[in-house]
Assembly symmetry: C2
Homo-oligomer: 127 residues x 2
Amino acid sequence: MKPIDLDEKLSRFNDHWSPRIIASVNGQEVKLVKFSGSFDWHSHADADEMFVVLKGSFTMEFRDHSVELTQGQMIVVPKGVEHRPVAEAECSVMLVEPAGLLNTGDGEESDRTTSGTWIESDEAASD
Amino acid sequence: MKPIDLDEKLSRFNDHWSPRIIASVNGQEVKLVKFSGSFDWHSHADADEMFVVLKGSFTMEFRDHSVELTQGQMIVVPKGVEHRPVAEAECSVMLVEPAGLLNTGDGEESDRTTSGTWIESDEAASD
């Protein structure tokens, strides 16, 4: 078994709103994602969604308030609650959510809709 | 809703091997724990266990190899796999594991056995 290095995984992609799956734990998937700009309003009827800020900061907008999150802070958006992440500058985030969850939730699908793609284990990536 | 600040939560306790629960997500609990020294060999028959190093470093010992983990690295110990965390110096770790999981797993209970205790939400703790 090898450690999963969050910085190394983050260095492997540059696109925004496109989660990469790095681990699986008890039916949940752990994903890394880079935010920039505004995402779509959505909710997940049956899934809580955890966001941990690894680098930068972003705002989690809810319909009645907003929460500012900076590096080293996290939030769990409970199932059914409409939300929209907004990042003025690029922000790197770790997600924990049920395997297969779509990022646009119960909202309309768009060209950003995805359940994430695995970053393969990096046998050759260690130095 | 408020952000959960990992450093602020870590500042609230100093004891070792005694996880504090900071969030719940889809039946999993997110816990913070400080390691120092060696824990007991154990496994969890039905639970994967995720460890993310927030500060410091530790070694996850398995029966046939060891994995060194430093800040910004993580590992998922699959269900059923015997393991033992060992930290030469204090190390702060975030765990994700099923709610109610005992830290000593299927091993013998000891005075360190716990499923963790909640740190209450900190309405007055923000500055």
